[in-house]
């Protein structure tokens, strides 16, 4: 997956599939941090950290704000909401499908 990192086509699931990006979110869940201070937590280069941050921004997990000369990262709700969408989708999906199964089976005469 690191090869695809720069592509903005990553979705929310791919965004959090990467351990470094999870770590960034974990750090930000405690407090907002500048890109520089986030980078201090990783062995990789600052540009590499920046790339991860861009992906998280693009997928709606964080927002970046320029304050003075610093760039501050803050958690955002959007990306997290999207994660629930699959479950929400399947919840409705199964309700509909099971209703169909029910009517199919209920219209069937019980075998003797």
């Amino acid at each position: 997956m690191p090869q695809n990192m720069a592509q903005p086509s990553l979705d929310e699931f791919q965004a959090i599939a990467d351990p470094s990006r999870r770590q960034i979110l974990r750090l930000l869940s405690k407090e907002r941090l500048t890109i520089n201070s986030l980078a201090e937590n990783f062995d990789m280069s600052r540009p590499a950290v920046s790339k991860h941050i861009k992906i998280l921004e693009y997928t709606g997990f964080i927002s970046i704000e320029d304050i003075g000369r610093e760039r501050y990262c803050t958690l955002k709700q959007d990306g997290f909401n999207k994660l629930q969408d699959w479950i929400g989708f399947f919840d409705t999906f199964w309700k509909d499908k099971l209703k169909k199964l029910e009517s199919l089976l209920n219209n069937k005469t019980t075998k003797k």
């Binding site: 959090i16 997290f80 089976l105």
Partner: protein, 150 residues
């Protein structure tokens, strides 16, 4: 955060009859989706449905039969994604049939939404959201008024 989907239904039919509807491709297609299911452990099969672009779902569910105990238990993996072999949903569907009151109790558990489970560590965060946002607002205001933020 919900991590699994569960449903329990009762049918006035024997488990054998209900089992047929879960394990025969033609019958499955009648209520679930077109498929090429075969009741063989380890067998790969697919469900086909309409794509859901906003979900990053191309409409193909890649499944593999994990367990078959007629007419009691059936499970399969359920993977899906936006296409090109990318998988973003990795989950498991388990059907359990229990003979009960001259009929069958059927239970469905769809779980193991991998990324979501891994992500449950952030659960507490949502709850603390308003406080978090408020704090950020205060910090920004402070910054605008020239104070330094460590």
């Amino acid at each position: 955060m919900t991590k699994s989907i569960q449903h329990t239904l009762f049918f006035p039919h024997t488990p054998e009859v209900v089992w047929e509807y879960l394990t025969t491709a033609e019958l499955l297609a009648q209520w679930l989706m077109p498929n090429d299911f075969q009741p063989i452990v380890g067998c790969d099969f697919q469900f086909r449905s309409k794509p859901k672009e906003e979900l990053g779902f191309d409409g193909i569910s890649y499944c593999k039969v994990l367990e078959i105990v007629p007419p009691k238990r059936l499970s399969y993996s359920w993977k899906a994604g936006p296409g090109n072999g990318q998988i973003t949903l990795d989950s498991i569907v388990v059907w359990t049939l229990t003979a009960k009151d001259n009929g069958t109790e059927l239970s469905l558990v769809h779980s193991g939404f991998k990324e979501i489970e891994n992500f449950a560590i952030y659960q507490g965060m949502s709850a603390g959201w308003p406080i978090h946002v408020k704090k950020i607002g205060e910090l920004i205001n402070a910054a605008k008024h020239g104070s330094t933020i460590a």
